[in-house]
Symmetry: C2
Subunit: 694 residues, 2 copies
């Protein structure tokens, strides 16, 4: 179950009047990469071959990015991208998060319960087809037609279980593309260092620089029980990247909001973000102290806390940017400029003039049921909890109840997460044998039910219906202690049995999911009708207006699909201080205090004399990235790996809303540090050999 979003990096302040794209700005799609701009600025013009090589050697891994780095299916990503898998494979006796993991032989590689790796094969423009399907519609009819057509296109494309097809919305609806990818669901853990060095400096150093982290893990994709052979792969650079070197980052930035209207940004600033931050801060506090209960509580809850703390810090950075008056003024000016161009042209005014007000109205409507929607249904669907029910078991129960209702429907009438193209992923999550910890479930469910009551009020009809005369803790305990859903076979039986089996079930989580399902569905319809439909429709109009006045030479907001950014290794200036772009192994030993989170693992302390302390460790570059780019390779102009993205600096956190070339920096592990650590500290020679092979 993946309740937590994987780390989303993010980016910063100042910036961006609509048509202007800054130096090094952009999360470019591969079909409109500005090779000429790169040539002008850096003297190197990427060819189609170069671009194809980068695209096909790149992988997506869960909510992260990754790369193929050997001809035998070795995949490189961040430690924090495989963190959940590493935790799931751990037990009370052997905690690989603490100790690290290294499969000495291929036979020792262990399957990750829920990881999926995909390789993008083709991109097809389906804008016209989507346009036809939704023409003249609005409200719920528009939402239904749009999603129905997406499911239809995806189903037609999905010719086998190992093919993954996704219709992707670009430019807020200005363009639709179909992504066809090869999917690998047998993904095995090969290597991960200790968390203490993968995340050296912990939360205090997260999103900061200088940095000294070896945030790497290696997994291997399998096909029919044998290592898969990807069509393309990256090779390792033989020359260390240095200050000023050109850098490319292919990867899957998750989401940016740079094209959102001012009303949408205000909603994020005044409602969504503060609510999220306050919720997360309490959850963080509770989890931290929950971990103090016992070693087992610490082991089972620390991954959750890691994601929460990451989310909090990211949220603080995004919040700071939206509270920056100068930044918001620039956003408003850009919007007003485009608006006045539209209003001055009668045809365009008729076609696009109402878009901004329509979005403002949608946001205003959304505010009125935002809490109910988030707590009872949730913005993210699939096998995932909501704000009111932070529980894997509830998420499973809800997915089973909905599967019983949705799967019998025609494909294009289903909720998107049950569309045929998504069923493989759904089943992987639903039938995963990843451990579910009873005590942690009770803890999280108690917390979230308490927040549900707090947000909606003790007298809200849904709160009364859910809690009855029970306290959140009593209810959570009763449900978790009495459910059978921890058992994968039970889930499979209920899934196979369909609606009839669900209706006959007395499992408390099935009963709870059924109890709220009608209201939760009603809220989802309300959201789709009042918010999503008008915003997508109007977003499309604004995108078209932008194309009309500024051309199509800009990049779309990030949507979790493959993009390419360019830049170079470069420090920055902050409060008058110049920050150098590259740290060294020696710096890590200087920062070691012996106390968490500044405690180097024993392997490092023992190996110190064998290391070249001048070896570059981490570096920053001007590449434009965001959360989801974690695990992206950094590549030189020969198409070789020079680093591994794992973070952004703090000033980059507002990058969700705009890119500031002066201070926005990508943070990566240097390729030299990766090799030397594998060789000298971990004795992982077989990995080094694979990486070095040409």
């Amino acid at each position: 179950m993946r309740r937590m979003r994987l780390r989303h990096l993010a980016l910063s302040s100042l910036l961006l009047v609509a048509p202007l794209v800054h130096a090094d700005e952009g999360m470019w799609t591969f079909d409109s990469f500005p090779s000429k701009t790169v040539k002008t600025k850096y003297g190197f013009e990427p060819t189609q071959t170069f671009l194809d090589h980068l695209r096909l050697s790149s992988a997506k891994l869960g909510g992260c990015s990754a790369s193929f780095v050997s001809s035998s299916g070795l995949v490189m990503t961040n430690h924090h991208c495989a963190h959940e898998c590493i935790a799931q494979l751990s037990t009370a006796k052997k905690d690989y998060v603490d100790t690290g993991f290294y499969a000495k032989t291929q036979a020792d590689e262990v399957k990750c319960p829920t990881l999926e790796v995909t390789q993008l094969q083709s991109i097809t423009d389906v804008t016209e087809r989507m346009g036809k399907a939704t023409k003249g519609l609005s409200g719920q009819a528009y939402a239904d037609a749009r999603k129905g057509e997406m499911s239809k296109i995806e189903k037609e494309c999905t010719t086998a279980d190992d093919v993954r097809c996704d219709v992707v919305t670009l430019y807020e609806g200005g363009k639709y593309v179909l992504h066809k990818a090869k999917r690998y669901q047998d993904v095995r853990l090969v290597f991960a260092p200790e968390l203490a060095i993968a995340f050296f400096g912990g939360d205090p150093d997260n999103f900061e620089f200088p940095r000294y982290d070896l945030d790497v893990s290696f997994v291997r994709i399998y096909d029919g029980g044998k290592p898969a052979k990807p069509s393309d792969r990256f090779t390792w650079s033989t020359k260390n990247a240095k200050d000023g070197d050109l850098s490319f980052v292919p990867g899957h930035p998750g989401r940016t909001s740079r094209q959102k209207t001012f009303a949408q940004l205000e909603m994020i600033r005044d409602v969504a973000l503060p609510k999220r931050l306050l919720y997360m801060e309490e959850w963080r506090g509770q989890t931290l102290q929950y971990e103090e209960k016992s070693a087992e509580a610490h082991r089972t809850a620390k991954t959750q806390r890691f994601y929460i703390e990451n989310d909090v810090k990211r949220g603080r950075g995004r919040f700071a940017t939206l509270l920056d008056k100068a930044f918001m003024a620039t956003k408003l000016a850009a919007e007003n400029e485009l608006k006045s161009k539209v209003m001055a042209d009668a045809t365009k005014k008729a076609a696009y003039g109402g878009a901004w007000d329509a979005i403002a109205k949608a946001e205003s409507d959304y505010r009125n049921f935002y809490d109910e929607y988030l707590y009872l249904e949730g913005e993210r669907h699939g096998v995932e909890g909501t704000w009111g029910f932070r529980s894997d078991l509830f998420a499973i129960g809800k997915a089973l109840v909905r599967a019983g209702d949705e799967l019998p429907k025609p494909n294009e009438k289903r909720f998107r997460e049950f569309a045929s193209s998504n069923v493989v992923a759904l089943e992987q999550e639903l039938f995963s044998d990843a451990p579910i910890y009873e005590e942690l479930e009770i803890f999280d469910l108690t917390f979230s039910l308490t927040k549900l009551r707090e947000a909606l009020g003790a007298d809200h009809p849904m709160v009364k219906k859910i809690l009855g005369k029970e306290s959140p803790k009593s209810m959570a305990t009763r449900l978790v202690k009495n459910t059978k859903l921890r058992d994968v076979a039970t889930r499979k039986a209920l899934y196979a049995g369909g609606k009839k089996a669900i209706d006959a079930s007395k499992d408390p989580f099935i009963l709870l999911a059924k109890l709220i399902d009608g209201d939760a569905r009603a809220l989802r319809t309300k959201y789709e009708t009042l918010v999503e439909a008008p915003e997508t429709k109007s977003g499309q109009q604004i995108a078209e207006a932008r194309f009309a006045f500024y051309g199509t030479s800009s990049y779309p907001d990030a949507t979790g699909t493959l993009r390419l950014s360019f830049g170079r290794l470069e420090g920055w200036k902050e409060k008058g201080v110049t920050i150098a772009p590259i740290t060294t192994f020696g710096g890590a030993f200087d920062r070691h205090t012996g106390e968490e989170p500044f405690q180097l693992p024993k392997t490092w302390l023992d190996a110190k004399s064998k290391l070249d302390l001048k070896t570059p460790f981490d570096f920053v570059s001007t590449n434009d990235i965001i959360g989801g780019n974690s695990g992206s390779p950094v590549v030189n102009q020969a198409g070789e790996i020079i680093g591994l993205v794992f973070d952004g600096n703090f000033l980059s956190l507002g990058g969700d809303f705009g890119f500031d070339p002066a201070v926005n920096r990508t943070v990566a592990v240097h390729s030299a540090a990766l090799l030397q650590a594998l060789e000298k500290i971990y004795g992982a020679q077989r990995i080094v050999d694979e990486l070095r092979a040409k």
Copy 2:
């Protein structure tokens, strides 16, 4: 030690163009009470005798309000105002917070370690004298002169230890008055019900209505070991107050920000309040789970959690009001109106025209060192922790270190909290034998040191200086385990020994306080020079401008001093629903679920058959109050007690910034509920007899 602010209620949305005062709005000073307005609206004109009776029968108790209710010194206030005392008197074996407390005879009454009760005796205008002292000065010179003169006036006034003198700043500096009060420091606990009924509904029902709380406690003031005889007292109403009845509330509203400039409100909205809320939410979460560790952890930490949760909910209400665009637009319009009047008049422009910009600049400067100031020095002085050091022991250490430096100085040169008129209160707190719990100290100090590192960054010079190579937890544990400051005699010796004893001390908290003292003092000076001085000076100018154009018929912002509000018992309408103004005992039994926080105490369940279930329990009225008014009596036009203020409704929480007569409500316990509960549930006949005596 009083690290937590006592409950601050607060009030709501819409409203208030500068000169207009709404029906029932106002926290009036006794020397300018609008008796004529009351007469016009309610047909009753308060006389001077009536006003004097209310003033002299009112008391201040810590950060709360209270009233004299018998001729033998019985004082009525809220349970939550005496909560800390009740907790301090409890032990692991006997927890009076849970069980309640009743002294069957006078001999059983127990002294509260840190409570102080005062009765206001006289008010003198000292505006002219203050004006002379600060004339022509600015920056640090202005700040020094202003505070020096205050200390001087107070010292002249303080003729005995039981006299408390405070110079109070009204109208942001437009007026200064000297309050002379009689002080009682021997305050003994007489009665408190169980927390389960004092705070029935807990955090979910806090700041809500309908409500069913018996939030009362009785203490008694002593003089020379005998019950004191206050000069005035309230008697009990023999007729139950009902819907529509006129109500007066004398009390000590703590602080409102209704006259603050727009720039100040923006600073609260964008910086101060979000930072505070996020800090508090994590602390709340940690405390909640800390309490799960053991019964003793729960007992010793629950009072702290109570104050934190109260602060969080209050903060959320205030935040909602400041995020209300319509409300902020009204504020801006009012400011612009006054500003344009000033600018249109050459003389006034010269005198006041620069005030708004000066305040905006001060706020902008403040943002640059806000975190450092809050974490290292703190906005509130005296024996109190800061954001970075939530620890009674640290607060004691800091007070001792500063006492060593400050007390030898001439009175008017000292920090205000060490001025001679404040020494009695300082010593009461410093030498209190209130328990300090080792584990809770470690917990709170660990939390706050972690937040200090988070807010300033691991590489901030002060963070490095403080933590060195230790983690927050290691440092907190070392300090708490090795200090001797839990011992009152040690504190007394260090205090008596002065700077020499402090310099010789190796106590870890003394060493820590000394380590940061230079930097903390520098931050305080920076705050006083860059923020406080220009804001007070400019605030005074704006107040004068306001007097010039709108007259002096309005009330000043709350400042913790005695005020009087008027109104009537009245429900309100919210989202189309009308909320009736009075609840009954029967309603409490309906709301009882048997699960915390909706669990009535056993005494209530046992006594149910003896109770008249139609008895009015709690009520709401239109009185304009705010935090600090907790414990205020509600009085009818005969000057008799008809209720006891303990809260405001949720819509009142924005009242910090403005009063909305349509929805702003005071929440009080009805006098009938108080008497019946004392008599039928608690068998506290001797209290009932005292209350009923004429």
